[in-house]
């Protein structure tokens, strides 16, 4: 098992554009890192650079201090699950899973034992693994791709938006399954996604990327509550980005407050910072209500509340914030 994977000043240029711009990070054994970012930000390119499917223009990749930057993908021992699974359509699921073992010339018996063991671990039945990929559902194909990537005991597992093609219920279930497996096998994993919920619920660490740059890598709770830039704050879910002088916290800069940290109506009385405002909109979100409120200073707030609001649109009410939950964003000026 490896101790560490390290990326050092990793840069990849596609024509004149920097798809990956000077990324450095270090990930310890058994950790689950999710790289989060909008489409086209370069997150899949990072994964392909680590997997060896692309070679960096500049920078290095180390596994346990061994430089693998120019090593081909077949020698890296890194398992990858592709967004479209990239299963071999002419082979049965069993043959797909056994492919890395056959390449390594394991005996038929050994292959059979390992395939059966991993299929059981992943939750594939004997009947399912005899089918061709086209005869399997999206979820089953995803499991086959995962089993195939894990069966040869790779140093590292790369997941390229593995849940993107699945419906919400299946996505939630498989997200939990992937996390369970990752912990059970204790494999270092890097996943790429644009879904912040997926990142927050599965990871030990989250890295947020934009325009080829890795803006921040941190613990999910810290990155959610105390992001270091406006972009990161916005990308991890609904938030309020307000001028810091509105709260008399600082003369310059911006603060961020998550909508669920703002109280409204009677509940606002418990808070140590209060303000009156007019309700400009109420959106039913399923479990919660998202309320838009405008203060007398024409500052707009989004507020998330579990209880159905008792006040109509246009009415005046009080909102309250515990001033400790307001976070002054360190890098906000350059991001605005």
């Amino acid at each position: 098992m490896i101790n560490k994977i390290k990326l050092e000043n990793l840069t990849y240029c596609y024509k004149d554009k920097k798809a990956v711009d000077n990324i450095s990070l270090s990930l310890h054994s058994g950790k689950f890192l999710t790289i989060l970012g909008p489409s086209g930000c370069g997150k899949t390119t990072v994964l392909k650079l680590i997997g060896g499917y692309l070679f960096p223009t500049k920078g290095s990749i180390y596994i346990d201090d061994t430089d693998i930057t120019s090593t081909g993908p077949c020698f890296r021992k890194i398992g990858m699950v592709f967004q479209n699974y990239a299963l071999f359509p002419h082979l049965s699921a069993r043959k797909n899973i056994a492919f890395p073992l056959e390449i390594r010339k394991l005996t038929k018996n050994e292959c059979e034992k390992k395939v059966n063991a991993i299929s059981e671990l992943i939750g594939l039945t004997q009947k399912e693994i005899e089918r061709k990929p086209s005869e399997l559902s999206g979820g089953q194909q995803q499991r086959v791709a995962l089993a195939r990537a894990l069966i040869f005991e790779p140093h590292l597992l790369l997941l390229d938006e593995p849940l993107a093609n699945l419906d919400k219920t299946l996505r939630t279930n498989l997200r939990k399954e992937i996390r369970r497996l990752q912990k059970e096998i204790n494999i270092t994993t890097i996943m790429v996604t644009h879904d912040h919920e997926e990142a927050l619920s599965s990871s030990d660490l989250i890295g947020v990327m934009d325009q080829g740059k890795l803006l921040e890598v941190n613990d999910p709770k810290i990155i959610y509550d105390k992001p270091n830039s406006v972009f990161v704050a916005n990308f991890l879910g609904e938030t309020n980005i307000i001028q810091a002088d509105f709260f008399n916290i600082s003369k310059n800069g911006m603060v961020h407050i998550r909508p669920e940290n703002i109280k409204i109506g009677d509940q606002a009385n418990e808070c140590n910072w209060k303000k009156k405002g007019i309700i400009t909109g109420i959106t039913f979100m399923g479990a919660d209500f998202l309320i838009d409120l405008k203060t007398n200073e024409d500052v707009h707030f989004k507020i998330l509340t579990r209880n159905p609001p008792s006040f109509p649109i246009g009415s005046t009410t009080t909102m309250g914030i515990d001033i400790e939950s307001v976070w002054l964003i360190p890098n906000n000026l350059e991001d605005i």
Partner: protein, 285 residues
């Protein structure tokens, strides 16, 4: 009721066309092949019935023509698929600009008459052709090489005609394979040869089978290559049909050859997998 009848109505024009242009001439050809050959004037003796033509084909040099033609078609198909597949793989790796140039090189000979192409090949391979002249000028040889009027030159000519179709067909087959599949195989530990052997080749298998069938069907009817570039003693069925029908005027024997050629083509369409299926055994399950 309408739902059952309507599809049949739609296929009537296609069926009529096939009946008119293929099935009817085929039956006429079979009938003529069963007529007695001409004695003196005319092309056949009408209102007769005889198996003499079939007997004469199998009693004389006919069997060797049949075998030669079949082997010739197999050779042309095999080399066309080998070179065409290699060329298609190469084209896939090239930049867009170079790929367009390759397409032009492949298709340009198809825009001009095959006769002009064969005259060009004669000029290239002949005793006083470009190749021999260059070799003599550079003193690599003293006497011109026998590059024309033999099996080799006939093969070159027919491969030259077949290869564009094979390459384009296999190129489209290769293009239909998801590129991530190759990456996945490499990431799982496969080297380039293993990717080709275990992924590319089996995934192109249906396409190779189809082009193998078509190529054999085309080349069982090889005419221009053997006629312009081949040795007159190594004739093919098509050359023999031409000889019997237009030089000797024996239509029943020419028709007999036509029936035999059609039967051989049908046999190869019916047994498509036999010659190359051993390459793919055990990979599907």
């Amino acid at each position: 009721m309408n739902k059952i009848i309507i599809p049949y109505i739609f296929i009537i024009p296609a069926l009529s066309l096939i009946t008119l242009t293929i099935i009817t001439p085929l039956f006429l050809m079979i009938r003529v092949s069963l007529l007695k050959p001409p004695e003196g004037t005319g092309f056949y003796i009408p209102d007769t019935f005889s198996l003499h033509n079939y007997q004469s084909v199998f009693d004389t040099y006919g069997v060797s023509i049949l075998i030669d033609t079949t082997f010739f078609a197999l050779e042309v198909s095999l080399f066309s698929i080998l070179f065409g597949f290699g060329f298609a793989i190469l084209m896939q790796e090239l930049s867009n600009f170079l790929r367009i140039i390759c397409f032009i090189c492949l298709l340009l000979p198809k825009f001009i008459s095959p006769l002009i192409v064969f005259f060009g090949l004669q000029r290239l391979l002949g005793n006083y052709g470009i190749i021999n002249e260059s070799l003599i000028t550079t003193h690599l040889i003293n006497e011109p090489l026998d590059l024309i009027r033999n099996h080799f030159s006939a093969l070159i000519g027919e491969i030259y005609l077949t290869i564009p179709f094979v390459t384009l067909f296999l190129f489209s087959q290769l293009n239909s394979i998801n590129k991530e599949t190759y990456n996945a195989a490499k990431g799982l530990g496969a080297n380039n040869y293993q990717v080709f052997r275990k992924i590319t080749l089996p995934m192109c298998y249906p396409g190779i089978i189809i082009i193998w069938q078509l190529s054999i069907a085309w080349n069982l009817g090889s005419f221009l290559g053997p006629l312009f570039l081949g040795n007159p003693s190594n004739t093919t069925i098509s050359c023999e049909i031409y000889h019997q029908a237009f030089e000797i005027g024996n239509w029943p024997l020419a028709s007999t050859w036509g029936v035999l050629m059609t039967a051989t083509i049908m046999m190869f369409l019916w047994l498509p997998k036999l010659p190359i299926s051993f390459m793919f055994k055990d990979d599907s399950k």
